[in-house]
Amino acid sequence: MSDMDDIVKEFLVESSEGLDTLDRNLVALEKAPGDKELMGGIFRAIHTIKGTSGFLGFGRLESVAHVGESLLSDLRDGKQALTPDITSALLRLVDAVRAILGDIETTATDGENDFLELVDLLTRLRKVEVAPAAPVTVTAAPTSAVVAGSAGPDLTEARGPHASDSNIRVDVSLLDRLMNLVGELVLTRNQILQHTAARGDAGFVATSQRLNLITSELQEGVMKTRMQPIGNIWAKFPRVVRDLALACDKKIRIEMEGEETELDKTIIEAIKDPLTHIVRNSVDHGMELPADRMARGKMAEGRLLLRAYHEGGQVNIEISDDGGGVNAERVKATALRKGLFTTEQLARMTDREVVNLIFAPGFSTAEQVSNISGRGVGMDVVKTNIEKIGGTVDVHSTPGKGTTLKIKIPLTLAIIPALNVSTARERFAIPQVSLLELVRLDGDEVGTQIEMVYGAPVYRLRGRLLPLVSLGHALGVEPDFWGPANTQRKIVNIVVLQADEQAFGLVVDEIHDTEEIVVKPLGKQLKGISVIAGATIMGNGRVSLILDVLGLAQKAAVVSDNRKRRAAEAGAGSRETDEGARETLLLFQVGLDHRMAIPLSMVARLEEFPRTVVERAGKHQVVQYRGRLLPLLPLAELLGETNIPVARDPIQVVVYHHEGRDLGIVVQNILDIVEENRTTHRRERGGAVSGTAVIQGKVTDLLDVRAVINDADVLLFAGTPALEPQLAGV
C-alpha cells in the first residue's frame, strides 16, 4: 500500500509540474500555431497523464484527459487548426486536470466531478472541424503523426536517464533544517574566531581559518540548494495575462528577461502573490484598449515586460507596461476625496511622490471595481508584503508612455551581513542593505557641524541636510532627544541609513565591526515593537537585537518628511534606461574645476584634517591617524593641475585602503556618491585617468588610483611599513 502511495505521490508531483509547463506552452502555441515541437510536448504531457491515471485506476481523470488527447492529436496531425476557442477549452482542461489532481491529493480518489460539460465541449470542438478538414489532410497526416510520435519517445528516452541521474528530489523541510544547522555553525564559527583572535596559537589560528573558509563555502552551498529561478513563478503569468486580456478585450504580449535569476525559496513564495497582483493590475488598469492605443499612435498590442536581475547583493524585479501611465491628477483627486492627504500636502509633492501614493493604505484608483484585480487587496498590501521580507517597491510612470514598478528584494532572509553598533552599553545589529555610509565627528566638529532646525538636529552631508536620529532616544533609553549629554560628547558616530527613499543619520555611541548574522524571530511577547526586526546571537554568545531601519525611520518621523533628495532623484530618472553593470562612485573635485570619480568600493573612509595636523616624514606629508601614520597624496599637484586654488582648511582626504595600508588622497572637495553605469564610460586617456564619463550632466574623469600611486612614488607604499616602527613613538 505504501508503495502505491509513493507512486501516486510521484505522479502528483510530476503532473503538477507538467501542468505548469502546459499552461505556458498552450499560450505560446497560440502565438506560434505551427510549432511542431511545442505541439508534440503538449500532446505528450496530456498523453502521459492519461496513461498513468489509467494505470493507477483514476477513471475520471483518464476519461477527461482522453478527450483532450484526441483533440490534441487532431491538432497535431493538422486535421484541424488551433482557434482561440480551442485554446481556451484546452486551458480549461488543464484546470480540470489540476482540480482532479487536487482531489486525489486530499481524498486519494479522483473526486465526484465528471466535468461533463467540458468533455462535451472538447468533443464538440473536435467534431465541428473534423468533417471539412479531414479529406484534405488525410494523406499528409499519417506521416507527420509518425514523425512526431517517434520523435517524442526518442527525445524523452535520450534525456530521461540524464535528468534522473543528476537530480534528486529533496523535501524542503530537510533543506530548512540544514539551513538552520548551517546557521548555528556560522555562529559557532564566529565565536571560535573571536577566541582565536584573543589567543594567538599559530596552529589553532591556521585551523580556525580553515574552519572559517569551509563554513563559508558550506553556507554558500546550502543557500544555493534553496535557490530557485524566478521563472518558476513567472511561468503562470502568460496564462494569467492571456485570460485577463481576453476578458477585457485587450491585446497584450508578455515578455520576460532574466527568468534564470535565482532567489531563496522562501522569498520566491513571499513575492508570488504580490507579483501576480501587480501583473493583474497592469493588464486591468495599466493597459489601454486597442482602439485607444491606436488613437495614441501606439501598436494595438500592448507589451508587458517582466525583468529580473541581480544588483549589489539584491534582486531587482521590474514589471513595466507601455500603457497609459498613472494619471497624477486622478491620484491626487482620489487621495483628497478619501481624505488621505490635504491639498497643501499634495501641492508640496513631486509628481513621483504623487504616483507612489498608489501604495498608500486605503487607496485604489480603479473607477469601477472590476472583478479582475479588485480582489480585496490593494497595492498597499503588495507594498507591505514586499517590505515584510526586507524589500522595497517603487513606481515610475510617464503619462501616455507606461508604468514601471521596481521591486528590490534581498537574495536570502536567513543569513544577512550586518553592522554592529552600540548605544547605552547594548549592542544592536543593523542590516547592511540599508547602510549608506558612516560619518565620524571628532572633537570640535561635534559642536559646530551638528546644527538645529527648529529643535531637530541635522548634519550637512556634502551640502544636503541629513536629519539625525538618536538611537538611544528612539529606543527610549535616553530621555533627551539631543540633550547635553550628546553635545558634550567627544566623538559622534553617525550611521547614514536609507529608509524608503529618505536618508537619515542614526547617532550611536560606538560603531563596531560587520558580521554575518543569523536572523531569529522574536517570541509573541515582543511582536509589535516596530523598531526591532528580530534577534541574533553574536560571536560572544550574547543575544543582540536587529534594528528595523524602516520602523526606526517611521518612529522618528523621518520618512513622512518631505525633504526628499531631489537632486539624486533627478539623476536617477535619467539613468533608469541604461543597461549594464552599475557601480557606486565617489565624486570629488580636484583643483579648481576638475571633476573626478573613483569606485566607492576602493574608499575606506572620508576624512577632514585641519592644516595644522599635517606633518612631514621624509619627503612626504603625513598625518597621525587612528594611532598610525597616514601618508598624504596631493592629487592636484600629482596630476599637474595648473589651476590649484588655495587649499581648504580643513583639507579633504579620501582614505584609500590598499594591501593592509592606508593612503590619504588629498582632494579639493568631496562632491557626492552616485550609482553610475560602467558601460557609459569611454576609455580614452592614459596615465592617471582610466576613462571619462558624463555623471550628473558633467564631464567626470575616472581616477586610476593604482597608476597615480605608481607614478607618484613607488617607494611611498613600499616605504610605509618601514616607517611605522620608527615613528610609532612620535
Binding site: 548555528e184 547594548e426 527610549g476 531569529k520 517570541g523 511577547q525 515582543l526 543575544v543
Partner: protein, 149 residues
C-alpha cells in the same frame, strides 16, 4: 476518581506557586540577559538557550510584586509553548510535588484581581497552599504601549 498531578514549584515573595511538570522544559540559573527597549514592562530581556533565543518574563512584575532585592539573582523556569520556549523568572525553585485532585479548589474571590486572573486554582497541601499558575494567560502581555515605558 482521584488523579495525582506533579507540579514544579517555586517561590515568589510570599507566594508559593506551581506549574505542571509536563509544561516545564528545564530550570536554569541566571543567564546573560539582553534588554529589549520598548517592550512590555514584564519582559526582562532575551537569553541565549543553546542557540535558541528565549524571552524572559519577569514574573514578579507580572504578578504586581515589587522587584527582587538588588543582589539576589532570579532563576529561569523555561516553559514549553506552541510558539517555542519562554522563560519565567522566579525567586527560588522548590521541589517537584505530587498533588491530589481532591485537595483542589478554585481560587478565592477575594485575592488581588491581578493575581487572580493568572491563578488557575489552589491545592490545599498539609502545611501550605500551592497556587497553580495559568502559564498561557501569564504569557499574554498587554500590547506594547507606544513610546515604551
Amino acid at each position: 476518581m482521584i488523579t495525582a498531578r506533579q507540579f514544579c514549584t517555586f517561590r515568589l515573595g510570599n507566594l508559593f506557586l506551581g506549574i505542571e511538570v509536563l509544561q516545564v522544559q528545564e530550570v536554569i540559573r541566571t543567564q546573560a540577559m539582553t534588554r529589549v527597549p520598548l517592550a512590555a514592562r514584564a519582559v526582562r530581556g532575551l537569553i541565549n538557550l543553546r542557540g535558541q533565543i528565549v524571552t524572559a518574563i519577569d514574573l514578579r512584575e507580572r504578578l504586581g510584586l515589587p522587584p527582587l532585592d538588588g543582589d539576589r539573582e532570579p532563576m529561569n523556569v523555561v516553559v514549553r509553548t506552541d510558539e517555542g520556549a519562554v522563560s519565567l523568572l522566579v525567586d527560588e525553585i522548590g521541589d517537584v510535588m505530587e498533588t491530589n485532585d481532591a485537595d483542589y479548589e478554585d481560587p478565592p474571590e477575594t485575592i488581588d484581581p491581578i493575581v487572580r486572573g493568572l491563578i488557575r486554582g489552589v491545592y490545599k497541601l498539609s502545611d501550605r497552599l500551592l497556587l497553580v499558575l495559568d502559564t498561557e494567560k501569564t504569557l499574554v502581555l498587554e500590547p506594547t504601549a507606544p513610546g515604551g515605558r
